[in-house]
Amino acid sequence: MEINKKSVLYPPGGILMWIIIYVELFTFGLAIAGLTFYGAQERVQFHQDSQQLNKLIATINTILLLTGGFLVAKAVHLVKHQQFEKSSKFFLWAIVTGFGFLILKLIEYQEKLEIGLDMEYSTFFMFYWLMTGFHWIHVFVGIIILFFLRRSVRQQKNNANMEDIEAGAAFWHMCDLIWLLIFPLIYLIF
């Protein structure tokens, strides 16, 4: 069934997914506002703490997530044109970029824990662990969703529900959006 995206009730990915996206962005937005509020009060401490983060890993992770988003967008586009085999490969590579992100983040977490920069170290690191940790879980869930999308596409279901595929893809892109808010605030600005 063709989805009328111009209808206010059917944004790409479905209205329910967009409600979830707004709730998630609002929740992370509050955390980010909290981070900047305390950051403005303890500017020197936040700057010192921020300098202890690995900006290279964070930049590579940002590129990995953006590339993953690009691959998922292409995969969805290919499904719409019944190119299931090709689409499946794009979903697979998106999953690979997602795992790349998770692994690099774990390496970064290990670095921090080894030198005692845990959640109780400072206000900055409390926000760092909470925000990046919850985002890590979101990416993990996103990978599981992509896995199921790929399986659905591989079975080449002509009656595959396009709205389900777009909703799954929208969740993955939401992880990008959240990271694009977290990355500059935690790694660059302070």
């Binding site: 995206k5 111009k6 209808s7 206010v8 944004p11 790409p12 990915g13 967009w18 707004y22 962005l25 937005g29 980010i32 506002a33 900047t36 509020f37 950051g39 403005a40 700057h47 900006k55 964070a58 930049t59 940002t62 590129i63 953006l66 590339t67 988003g69 690009f70 998922v72 967008a73 292409k74 586009h77 044109h81 777009e166 893809a169 929208a170 892109h173 990008d176 959006l177 694009l180 808010l181 990355f183 500059p184 605030l185 660059l188 600005i189």
Partner: protein, 80 residues
């Protein structure tokens, strides 16, 4: 179809370029503004191009633009 694919590729290249650019900014009062503006551009590129928000009803487009603008403005106020 070809145009859409090329736009996605162009979007990715812009996103990566902006990311690399922001990563090399020196810590200063003005870099905060630039980083927030770049973040705003990146968020909107992902939403409008990759999530295909550009095809949605204008209410969704406006809502997203307002939300992103509001959030980043609040952050800018706290940080400057």
């Amino acid at each position: 179809m070809k145009i859409i694919v090329e736009r996605n590729t162009t979007t990715l290249l812009i996103l990566i370029s902006l990311t690399l650019l922001t990563s090399f900014f020196i810590h200063s009062r003005y870099s905060v503004i630039a980083i927030l503006i770049f973040a705003f551009i990146k968020i909107n590129l992902v939403a409008f191009q990759f999530m295909e928000l550009k095809y949605a009803h204008r209410i969704w487009k406006v809502a997203f633009l307002l939300f992103a603008s509001f959030l980043l403005t609040i952050l800018g106020i706290f940080l400057l």
